[in-house]
């Protein structure tokens, strides 16, 4: 089994984080926004696991597992909210959600 240096994992995590942030800021499709949030959370998980393996500490893995569980809950609620919104207006983009605009 080959082991990569820590910087490789950190670089991949940085690239994933930037991809997710850019997609989150640029996209108007609700599904795309949820996918970008998942990419962001997974980059954070990758950082946690990489540092846990680097320090030989099990706490990082436990935190990553909790983070994955929270991401699952968030995805379920977000998708159900999107389904409810689609039933309301037959649209999946989030441009028309301006009820709270000041």
């Amino acid at each position: 089994m080959t082991t990569f240096p820590l910087a490789a994992y950190l670089g991949l995590s940085a690239v994933l984080f930037v991809l997710g942030a850019y997609g989150l800021l640029i996209s108007r499709n609700g599904i795309k926004i949820l996918m970008c949030i998942e990419i962001l959370l997974n980059s954070a998980n990758l950082n946690l696991v990489a540092f846990a393996a680097y320090h030989r500490d099990a706490l990082g893995y436990v935190m990553a597992m909790f983070s994955i569980g929270l991401a699952v809950a968030e995805a379920a609620v977000g998708l159900s909210i999107l389904i409810a919104l689609f039933r309301l207006k037959r649209r999946i983009d989030v441009d028309w959600l301006r009820s709270l605009k000041g």
């Binding site: 930037v18 706490l59 699952v72 379920a76 159900s80």
Partner: protein
Amino acid sequence: MNDIRGLLRLAIATLLLCLLLAMLIAPWPGGPTGLESFAAINEALFGRYALAFEILAVLLLAALIGALLLARKEGPRP
């Protein structure tokens, strides 16, 4: 809208460059890498953090029920 998008791309590229630069500059001493054992994860997850694990289970149940309620056929009942 277009110039805002260009500015956004610039900001994101700057963020990526800063992250990679910080990662390359920071000293990572060659410590041990790799998984120690699965038993350590097991003991941490079900020993010290067992309460957090149970709370996560309750949270997942609440999210499941909330998702079912929101995405039902006739919508949430008033």
